[in-house]
């Protein structure tokens, strides 16, 4: 446990940026592209995914030792499905309009590749508190992308930001709505399916550019891996 802080730091760095689920691992793309016509939808789905991710990571990590390999996947997806159904029911009960807006993508959180991916790749090999934190960071990273993508698409395609935030956050949030500009003919493409892909492509390119820019700026103190010797010296 002595190295824990650095473990957490590394997990945060991986989840939020370096190995971001949406931008780098390209997991969970379906909801990522499908529901991000507005920033509100993105945020809502991001938070729902985050909850499921943390929950499933913890659970999987706790049960990992009791599950034989052959039924590993069925059990994991069942765990996830339970969480999703629960969240779905709760949203249906208390966030009805948002639930309607997100449509089929709520039940589809089950198959969000991100969740099963983390369960397999991380939670099934690590203790629960690390897994929980990993879920949190991966989920936040994912939400971040959802929000950015939603924001860009909403601005381009609608000229607004936080349109319909009240659906997610309650009446008060109506005040959040920002009309950035109002043209008669917004760039419809941005909120249509092709726009989702293209804007996403540009976001990924932006991240790559930032990374290479930073790499160029920081004259990296190259870490050198020690060579293994095959033979005697």
């Amino acid at each position: 446990m002595s190295q824990s802080p650095s473990v957490y730091k590394e997990l945060a760095w991986q989840g939020l940026w370096k190995n971001n689920a949406g931008l780098v691992q390209l997991l969970g793309l379906c909801p990522l592209l499908a529901v991000t016509a507005s920033i509100t939808n993105g945020l809502g789905l991001g938070l729902a995914t985050l909850l499921v991710l943390v929950g499933s990571n913890i659970t999987v990590s706790l049960i990992r030792e009791y599950v034989p390999n052959e039924i590993r996947i069925p059990v994991f997806v069942m765990v996830i499905a339970t969480f999703v159904t629960v969240i779905q029911l709760v949203m249906n009960a208390y966030l009805y309009t948002l639930y309607q807006a997100l449509g089929i993508f709520i039940p589809l959180i089950v198959t969000n590749c991100l969740i099963i991916g983390r369960a397999e790749a991380y939670a099934s090999k690590n203790p629960w508190h690390h897994s929980a934190f990993d879920g949190l960071m991966m989920g936040l990273g994912f939400t971040l992308v959802l929000v950015i993508l939603g924001g860009i698409r909403e601005i381009l395609g609608n000229g607004t930001l936080f349109d319909g935030a009240d659906l997610l956050l309650g009446e008060w949030a109506e005040a959040l709505r920002i009309q950035l500009f109002s043209v008669d003919y917004p760039l419809l493409l941005a909120i249509l399916p092709p726009g989702a892909f293209i804007v996403m492509g540009f976001i990924i390119a932006g991240k790559n550019w930032l990374d290479s820019y930073r790499a160029a700026r920081a004259e990296q103190p190259q870490k050198q891996v020690t060579r293994a010797r095959v033979t005697a010296q």
Binding site: I71, P74, R227, A228, R229, V230, T231, A232, Q233
Partner: protein
């Protein structure tokens, strides 16, 4: 809906599925993982250890267990590309922390300086060095993989790594590298 029907139905369903999978797991059990062999076949077999593993095969095993594929400098881009195709993962640039892809080299022992200590023989993973104790050693050039593991142990520093000579028959059609402009023409 009632608790009981739900529990019974799902329980029975899960039981059946579990039985099926349990049956299949044994009935259709397959031994062994041929992927290591396939990976190993793609590695350059230089045995240089730059990947951080003692030899190519251990690295192949590590890759099969999820290690990154971009750690072998002697293999360079070609190997990474082949591995990425074999494993269906994205090709990444070579991890500079392990070194960079350089021109192929061979070891050459400056024979007049060699004191015959046999240290290099022990170091060479492919037995490419010939010689007996207290006698001059030489490198069999075509067996040498250029791993440079023999350089460090040599107490008198008489081993050089020199680029593999380019001959007309292994020339890579690199017109830019021909020393034309250096060689002046005959009739001037």
């Amino acid at each position: 809906m009632s608790f009981l029907t739900a529990l019974i139905i799902l329980g029975v369903l899960a039981l059946i599925f579990g039985l099926i999978l349990g049956f299949a797991a044994v009935r259709f059990h397959v031994e062994g993982d041929p992927i290591v062999e396939q990976i190993d076949a793609l590695l350059p077999q230089t045995q240089c250890g730059q990947c951080g593993y003692p030899g190519c095969r251990p690295y192949a095993e590590a890759i099969a267990n999820g290690e990154e594929i971009n750690k072998c400098p002697p293999g360079g881009e070609t190997t990474i590309k082949n591995l990425s195709e074999l494993l269906g993962v994205e090709a990444k640039p070579l991890d500079a922390a392990h070194g960079t892809e350089t021109v192929k080299k061979v070891a050459v022992i400056r024979e007049d300086e060699c004191i015959g200590c046999t240290k290099c023989i022990q170091a060479c993973p492919v037995d490419a060095i010939l010689g007996a104790a207290k006698h001059m050693h030489t490198v069999i050039a075509h067996e040498c993989t250029g791993c440079d593991l023999c350089v460090e142990p040599c107490p008198v520093d008489c081993i050089d790594m020199v680029p593999v000579p380019v001959r007309p028959d292994n020339w890579q059609w690199d017109l830019q590298q021909i020393p034309v402009r250096v060689v002046e023409s005959g009739n001037e």
